[in-house]
């Protein structure tokens, strides 16, 4: 039959972003391939107080959630503002990228991105102080993310 139109197959919210996990075992091509088939999303810019229940409720709107892993400060073992959401199907994850990404959870605009899949250890922040890297160098004051960034609050 006739062709598909490029204008209509545009699905930019589902595209893989520029971020690549430095700890991924494999080259960039392999990582991209995994991301294009992944059912897991990284969710960022959460408040430290956002609960697993809230994440479940929101992300269930695009399909059945298989599991949620709340990101933890490596030292304190408390929530440090990110999580992973794993779906049973790719389609459900895609709909989350299209319709949940960039909307609010707990009054904050959250950001979702494809993830190669949870592995033990990935639930910890990779910043020097134990939280996320972004909170190491942040200059602004964010009461939901521990106040000032570590670089500001360090004497």
């Amino acid at each position: 039959m006739s062709i598909k139109l490029n204008a209509l197959i545009s699905d930019s919210y589902v595209d893989v972003s520029q971020y690549r996990d430095q700890h991924f075992k494999g080259n960039r091509y392999e990582q991209e391939k995994v991301l294009r088939q992944a059912n897991t999303l990284y969710v960022g810019n959460l408040s430290f107080y956002t609960t697993e229940e809230q994440v479940y409720e929101l992300f269930s709107k695009s399909g059945d959630v298989k599991r949620i892993i709340i990101g933890l400060d490596k030292v304190k073992k408390t929530a440090c503002g990110f999580c992973f959401v794993e779906y049973y199907t790719r389609t459900d994850a895609e709909n989350a990228m299209r319709f949940v990404n960039g909307t609010r959870l707990d009054d904050r605009i959250i950001r979702t991105d494809w993830d190669a899949g949870f592995k033990e250890g990935r639930q910890y922040g990779r910043g020097k102080s134990g939280g996320q890297v972004r909170d190491e160098y942040r200059q602004d004051y964010d009461p939901a993310r521990g106040g000032y960034g570590k670089v500001v609050s360090r004497p």
Partner: protein, 797 residues
């Protein structure tokens, strides 16, 4: 520094290499497609001069790229109906410059029409026909041949023993094209057209409308009747005819080119016989036209076209098509909706809001996933912050006022949308405007709605937040604090049977005892169901389940993850305790007892229990319909759980069916390969025989699995329907003997929930129609209940 500075090189994939090798022709084809798709967009020149320019470019490219151009134009005809007249004008200009090309295009369109009909793509076929109709306006197709095609379509209404939805579609195609081409066809062939419309009139009058009540969003006729889609369109066309086919809304670029176009030679459509009806044809389901606004609702600015004006039809059709084209790209979708051509002459925001809610509330299902509409409305609010939020608030207020007659399924979707929407706007709402609901009984739709909304809002935030956002007068509607109820909490309960064991088990779990050790501890729990001198001790022991599960869930109450870990860790014990149906039912009862203030937790736990096969789907259905849960029966979360359970069952069946298909395909490929390689040595033959044998065994096992799963699925639906019938019959009989009106809020909720089961799972239920009719929905049933079944059957006839 970084080893990963460039993305090409040896760790790049194959994609970009491919693109580089064959770039040139593809680039030109992409460019052509882009030029055609984007004509008129983002240009300082007029649409007409853009079309003129594009026609020139394409004419020049015809010698080299004719086929590609033909295919692109056919695709836009099929897939971009909201820009119909732009492309018919383009084709008209091309035909004027190149008669042969015009002829080839028409032929290609007819081929496509046949293919789409064969492939059950009825919506796309509809747009193809409409495109052909508008080509009459562009002097590409001769009017009499179009009328002849219409006559063939309408003759389908004379066919016997075909589903009504088949003749519906052919009539709909004719009627829905008339806003574009009615005038022209009437000018050329008024006698024939009159005859056609008379035939259609007769058909519309005699067709059955059993399906309508099941599809209406509101049961009330006021303020806006929920009309059946064909009835509404017929009224609109009759009014258009009365207005002598004067239609002023549709953008018609070809008018500017009239002098050029009327010089062109026209083509005749070849005679087109509608393909015969086949059993596997899937015609579109009937619809009800959703209306919530009229001219009184948009106070300032342009007037909203009336419900029977053809303008209303065209606007709604175009807006639906824009959403269909761009639903995956919410920013583009919002921008396209808001830049609708002719927007200054209509209250566009009202139309957009009405169309969006129309889709969200569409029965049986919205065309797209529910959450898309929430996010789309948020994007629209971002683009029109000064006007759209007000229209949305007005719409919400209206829908609140009309809750009493709103279909329960639609209320579900409304409260899901509203709570999610509020969570994006700090839960700001004028709750004081809704204090009227506080004076009503809690089971009435308005207070019920507010209560469920607040509960959903709490799931996206937390309890104190909800307390803070509503006025103190609303305290009765605030959801309960989602705390855990532990039976064996403190010494005050020490008299309870099993209390001591509960403490022991709790300590055992905390000290990481093994499953065997815990089972040993549990042996001490007396069985209230057994005689003292009964030796067995292995039967269903509700107290054992209670003691263990209450304690386990109490220890794991901190979060979902904790509870899931607990269920996983003690899976063996739970399986052992719930080996029988009563055990499964009791586990669900205990989950409810402890978490009755936290419906979300109940939902996720039930989901896990099903997925880990501790309970089965039928057990969940029986539990939800049991007398213990009667007081929760009208709560939203109960239906969330039931529908989720049915969906899991459906997905499970589909999964195994897919595995079976794949195994069968694999065997076929293997045997195919064997045939080709035949004549090999004996060794090879023996190996492949073994392989075949293994596969055949696997297929047999999978076949059994599929049959078993389908049987379970059928049983699930039977259980659900049986329970509904029992409950509803009991209610109706009780009301009749007591001479009381049966139409209570509970009854409305219950009967609409029965409808909802049919509607939400209609694809699966179709397979079991025979059993349902013979076993359950027989003529002896109360006609109120039977009506639901009959309405459902009418959806596909």
């Amino acid at each position: 520094m970084s080893r990963r500075r460039h993305s090409d090189g040896d760790d790049d994939g194959g994609q970009s290499h491919k693109r580089r090798r064959t770039s040139e022709p593809i680039e030109i084809e992409d460019r052509l497609e882009s030029l055609i798709c984007r004509v008129g967009e983002k240009s300082t020149s007029s649409l007409e001069s853009n079309l003129e320019g594009l026609a020139g470019v394409l004419e020049a490219d015809l010698p080299n790229y004719k086929n590609k151009i033909l295919r692109i134009l056919c695709a836009v005809a099929r897939l971009l109906p909201e820009k119909l007249t732009v492309y018919t004008t383009l084709v008209g200009l091309l035909n004027a410059r190149n008669y042969n090309f015009g002829g080839e295009f028409v032929e290609a369109m007819i081929r496509q029409l046949k293919e789409t009909l064969k492939a059950n793509l009825y919506t796309e076929a509809l747009y193809l026909v409409r495109f052909l109709c508008d080509l009459v306006n562009c002097h590409v197709i001769a009017a009499p041949s179009m009328v002849a095609m219409f006559e063939n379509f309408v003759s389908v209404t004379q066919e016997e023993d075909v589903p009504q939805v088949r003749s519906d579609w052919f009539v709909y195609v004719v009627l829905s094209s008339l806003p574009w081409v009615g005038k022209e066809l009437y000018e050329k062939k008024d006698v024939e057209m009159d005859r056609l419309l008379n035939q259609i009139d007769g058909y519309i009058k005699r067709r059955l409308k059993t399906h309508v009540p099941m599809l209406q969003v509101w049961t009330a006729e006021k303020p806006h009747p929920q009309e059946e889609y064909l009835d509404c369109l017929w009224a609109q066309i009759q009014k258009l005819k009365k207005d002598r086919w004067q239609e002023r809304h549709i953008l018609r670029p070809y008018i500017a080119f009239d002098s050029v176009l009327c010089e062109a030679l026209q083509h005749n459509l070849p005679p087109f016989t509608p393909p015969a009806h086949m059993p596997d044809c899937q015609y579109p389901m009937p619809r009800v036209i959703f209306r919530m606004f009229d001219y009184t609702d948009a106070p300032e600015g342009p007037v909203m076209p009336g419900s029977h004006s053809v303008e209303r039809f065209v606007i709604e059709d175009n807006l639906h098509n824009i959403i269909k084209s761009h639903w995956k790209e919410r920013k583009t979708c919002a921008a396209q909706l808001l830049s609708y051509p002719g927007k200054n002459k209509i209250p566009l925001n009202y139309h957009i809001v009405e169309v969006i809610f129309g889709e969200l509330f569409q029965l049986p299902c919205p065309p797209h996933i529910d959450v898309m509409y929430t996010t789309l409305l948020i994007e629209l609010c971002k683009l029109q912050p000064g006007s759209l939020p007000q229209v949305l608030a007005q719409a919400t207020e209206m829908m609140y006022m009309r809750l009493d007659t709103m279909n329960t399924t639609c209320i579900d979707r409304l409260l899901n949308w509203f709570s999610h929407h509020l969570s994006n706007f700090q839960f700001r709402w004028s709750w004081d405007d809704w204090t009227d609901c506080l004076a009503l009984d809690a089971d009435k739709p308005k207070p019920k709605f507010v209560k469920e909304v607040l509960e959903k809002c709490m799931r996206l935030s937390y309890h104190q937040r909800i307390v803070d956002i509503v006025p103190p007068t609303f305290s009765a509607l605030i959801p309960a604090d989602p705390i855990f109820f532990y039976k064996y909490q403190d010494e005050a309960n020490s008299a309870l049977p099993g209390f001591a064991v509960a403490i022991t088990v709790g300590n055992a779990i905390k000290n990481r005892a093994s499953n065997e050790e815990i089972l040993t501890v549990l042996k001490d729990v007396p069985n209230p169901n057994q005689e003292d001198d009964d030796d067995e001790g292995e039967g269903f022991n509700p107290l054992k389940i209670e003691v263990f599960l209450q304690t386990l869930l109490h220890l794991a109450a901190k979060s979902f993850s904790h509870s899931f870990s607990a269920l996983a860790k003690f899976h063996e014990i739970l399986k052992a305790l719930t080996d029988c149906d009563e055990g499964k039912l009791h586990i669900l009862r205990v989950v409810y007892e402890v978490w009755r203030n936290h419906p979300q937790m109940i939902s996720v736990l039930v989901d896990k229990l099903i997925r880990t096969q501790i309970v089965d789907c039928a057990a969940v259905a029986n539990w939800l319909f049991s007398p213990n849960m009667a007081h929760e029966f009208t709560r939203f979360y109960v239906w969330e759980i039931l529908h989720s359970t049915i969906r899991k069952m459906n997905k499970h069946v589909q999964k195994i069916q897919k595995e079976l298909e794949e195994a069968k395909d694999k065997l076929e490929r293997q045997q195919h390969k064997k045939q080709k390689d035949s004549g090999d040595e004996e060794d090879m033959e023996k190996n492949s025989e073994d392989e075949d044998g293994q596969l055949e065994e696997q297929i047999e096992r999978l076949q059994e699995k599929v049959e078993s799963a389908q049987s379970e699925q059928k049983n699930l639906f039977l259980v659900i329907f049986q329970r509904f019938i029992m409950m509803l019959t009991e209610h109706l009989v009780r009301c009749e003997t007591g001479s009381v009106d049966f139409s209570t809020p509970w009854y409305k909720n219950c009967i609409e929930r029965l409808q909802q089961i049919f509607l939400m799972h209609h694809v699966t239920i179709q397979q079991y129609m025979g059993t349902l009719e013979n076993l359950l929905f027989t003529a002896e049933l109360d006609h109120h209940i039977l009506a639901v079944y009959q309405q459902f059957c009418a959806l596909q006839l």
